[in-house]
Amino acid sequence: MSFLLNRLLSIALTLVLISMITFAVTNILPGDVAMMIMGTQSNPEALAGLRQSLGLNDPLIVQYGRWVFGMLTGDWGNSLIFKVPITELLGQKIRSSALIVVLSMAIALAAAVPLGVWAAVHRNKWQDTLSSSTALLGVSLPDFFWGIMMILLFARALGWLPSSGVADPATDFGAALRYALLPSLALGLGLMAHLTRMTRSAMVGILNQEFVRVARAKGLSERVVIWRYALANAIGPVMTIAGLQVGYLFGSIIVVETLFNYTGMGWLTYQALLNRDVPLIQATVFVIAAVVMLINLLVDLLYVLVDPRIRLE
């Protein structure tokens, strides 16, 4: 319990620090949101008026204080550029991005674990070479390449799936899934490659250990030895990597999002930065950081389930 408390406390502290840094850095950037809203239709008086009405003339510390107070009281304010409540905007985009992150991770794991185990079991045989080259191909080619290939195949040639777009899973899950499938596949392929390599090397190490030999000597079937005993011991590092990847994906899927016009968190963060929408930048960075840290915490907790030797203290 004290482990959990400690971790939560350190997460909270880190978030406070991150919010201060983002606030300071975004205010150093040239230009502001009033200028972006008016574009080339602005004149100095109109700009001054808009700045005043947006509260941009207040001292930085006041603006920051207002933001912190809002965050704590659940009022995250409106995006200055989109004029929509930030919580609403974030809700949509988090759900959409979470869908492709989860889906791509599921696709990646479903393929990577069997493939990695298969390669480890047949180490240095043709199966291993095949699995390694597949993984190498996946790692070497960027996800936008897979994206383009999939658009050509599934959207253009076969016409099964839409080439672009996004839907909110909370309002129409079926549509959301249709839009999410291609981006998830494109992301999943790259991820799969990493995880396959990870699974293979972890399994190779485990398969050389004494307890595996003992299990085999006891006359357990090869299937039980590999999938119950060896894999259970090898899965730890794979989980760690997968957990890190989920957090990383959340903030970095912008390329795939752009390619499929799947406007999720990556897109939102980019728009916020591009338009100097400080409250929105704060909120997106904050959420991404929180998600990354919470997922890592979750992975640590899952360890206990997978490996009974670990105690959290």
Binding site: L29, P30, G31, D32, M35, M36, I37, M38, G39, T40, Q41, S42, N43, P44, E45, A46, L47, G49, L50, S53, L54, S79, I81, F82, K83, V84, L89, Q92, I151, A155, R156, G159, P162, S163, S164, G165, V166, D168, T258, L259, F260, N261, T263, W267, L268, Q271, L274, N275, R276
Partner: protein, 514 residues
């Protein structure tokens, strides 16, 4: 058909100097429109703040054109004509405007439009606290009276001749229901042919037909404006049939789409004009000979081919070719590098002595491409041109707001109104004068124009402004860029879609074949 006539007549106006057809369409012959269907449009830009008063972006006004109506509007030749006001009258002294409103206009909430809504809308735009982009339109307004439900009388403290034409745009002239201000940014409400249904940032704006529209209901049940900023994604969506139409075809792909019988294309100009800016406060550019030399270095025709793949038409004036004020005697200067070198030498800048930084924004990739083409010509003339690429935020902050640049390039969308154009851009105190232009002759002309009520006399003054800008080379105006739309062949009525301002798209008469 109206629009087509407008474009043909415009071609006549420009005579043989019209370098490209003003409106070309591969759309098939006229058929009888049918009602029904929802049109899915792959829109090239992201819509932002939906409050028509506060928004300055071409993308938002392009969509909201279908939701809102203005008190007056413009015809094909940009003459002000009645719209929500069935008639208007300007007193001979130019100080009183009387609008008689239509009796049959309903807002989307079912409420009838009255003079109170007009008063509310004008006062909201005028109020600095609203943060309205066009608030200065109402600067000289002394009072807004509503003697009865259908009459609005605007009294001016001093003559402001451009007032009426500024009201012909949805920015300053838009009429919103009384007290709807706070909701306009998220759920805009107006009296246009389509009702606003929903908006998901970065994804789509959904519009539905408003059956009580005062000019008759639209054919389409609705329009979904999907926001697809990547041109290639947009084209893919058109090819896979996900979109009925897309706007802003990348110029280098135009020929490919035109040649495809699966699609129809529409292109028109001007979508916007582009000009190359010289900072008039930068020492070398204080000398007219240097500015003239810079103009002479540029081969505009080649630049148009290189940067825009020919998808535009050269011009020496930024006035819309359809407007009364367009000075068609001005011709783009032909390239003459020898003469340019001589002028530069005369001004004291021998070969290699001028190092110029050209700030181009990546927001308009063709500006960067144009700059890259310029470098070589300038090198031939002995001028070192260095390109600095800026994001939109950086460009706005460095060039537009801080006026910190030597040479740059910009465009303007929908800036057809002469006062807005010339006063804002060229008066020494104009809001858009980011080039530090300070020319007493222009100041006098544009100030005088504000007090001249007669349209033709006023247009003549603006023609003199254009002549002055041209002679003094205060800017190097280069071209009108084409707007373009590609659509599936089942979309009808595309000849009516483009607003005379060249930017807004109007879906009132667009329909889908069964």
């Amino acid at each position: 058909m109206k629009r087509r006539n407008f474009l043909i007549s415009t071609a006549g106006l420009l005579g043989s100097t019209a370098m490209l057809p003003l409106f070309t369409s591969t759309a098939s012959a006229q058929e009888t429109p049918v009602s029904g269907g929802t049109l899915i449009w792959g829109h090239s830009e992201t819509v932002q703040n939906l409050d028509m008063h506060q928004t300055g972006t071409a993308s938002t006004s392009r969509v909201l054109q279908n939701v809102h109506c203005s008190i007056v509007t413009v015809d094909k030749n940009l003459n002000v004509i009645p719209h929500l006001a069935e008639s208007f009258e300007v007193a001979p002294d130019g100080l009183t405007y009387t609008f008689k409103l239509r009796n049959d206009v309903l807002f989307h909430n079912g409420q009838k439009m009255t003079s109170a809504d007009v008063k509310y809308s004008f006062e909201r735009c005028k109020d600095p606290a609203t943060g309205a982009v066009n608030f200065e339109v109402f600067n000289h307004v002394a009072s807004i009276e509503t003697p009865d439900d259908l009459t609005v009388v605007v009294k001016m403290a001093q003559v402001n001749a451009p007032f009426l034409s500024r009201l012909a745009e949805n920015g300053a002239g838009v009429i919103m229901p009384k007290d709807s201000g706070p909701q306009q940014g998220t759920t805009p409400i107006g009296c246009g042919p389509f009702k606003f249904v929903s908006y998901e940032a970065g994804n789509a704006v959904v519009l539905a037909r408003f059956d009580e529209y005062f000019e008759g209901p639209a054919y389409l049940d609705g329009v979904i404006a999907r926001e697809i900023t990547e041109p290639t994604v947009r084209l893919t969506g058109l090819r896979t049939g996900e979109f009925h139409m897309i706007n802003d075809i990348p110029p280098d792909r135009m020929e490919e789409i035109k040649g495809d019988s699966q699609f129809q294309t529409v292109s028109w100009f001007p979508l916007n004009f582009d000009f190359i800016n010289l900072n008039n406060d930068f020492e070398p550019f204080k000398d007219q000979r240097v500015r003239l030399a810079f103009d002479l270095i540029i081969d505009k025709e080649l630049l148009l081919q290189g940067a825009l793949w020919g998808q535009g038409a050269l011009t020496a004036s930024p006035s819309y070719p359809t407007s009364l004020a367009y000075n068609n005697e001005l011709k783009p200067r032909a390239q003459d590098i020898e003469k340019a070198k001589a002028l530069l030498a005369e001004a004291g800048y021998g070969p290699g002595s001028l190092n110029i930084v050209f700030k181009a924004t990546t927001n308009y990739p063709y500006h960067v491409e144009a700059a890259q083409i310029l470098v070589e010509w300038f090198r031939e003339a002995g001028v070192n041109l260095t390109i600095e690429q800026l994001t939109w935020a950086d460009w706005l902050s460095q060039v537009w707001v801080n006026k910190d640049f030597q040479m740059s390039m910009m465009n303007f969308f929908g800036l057809w109104e002469s006062d807005f154009l010339y006063y804002s851009l060229y008066h020494s105190t104009g809001g858009f004068n980011y080039r530090h232009i300070n020319d007493p002759v222009i100041d006098e002309l544009v100030t005088k124009a504000r007090g001249v009520v007669d349209d033709q006399a006023r247009a003549d003054l603006y023609k003199q402004v254009q002549q002055r800008v041209y002679d003094e080379v205060l800017d190097i105006v280069i071209w009108f860029r084409n707007g373009s739309i590609a659509a599936q062949t089942k979309v009808g009525g595309l000849d009516t879609i483009v607003h005379p301002n060249g930017n807004a798209l109007n879906f009132h008469k667009v329909w889908l074949k069964a």
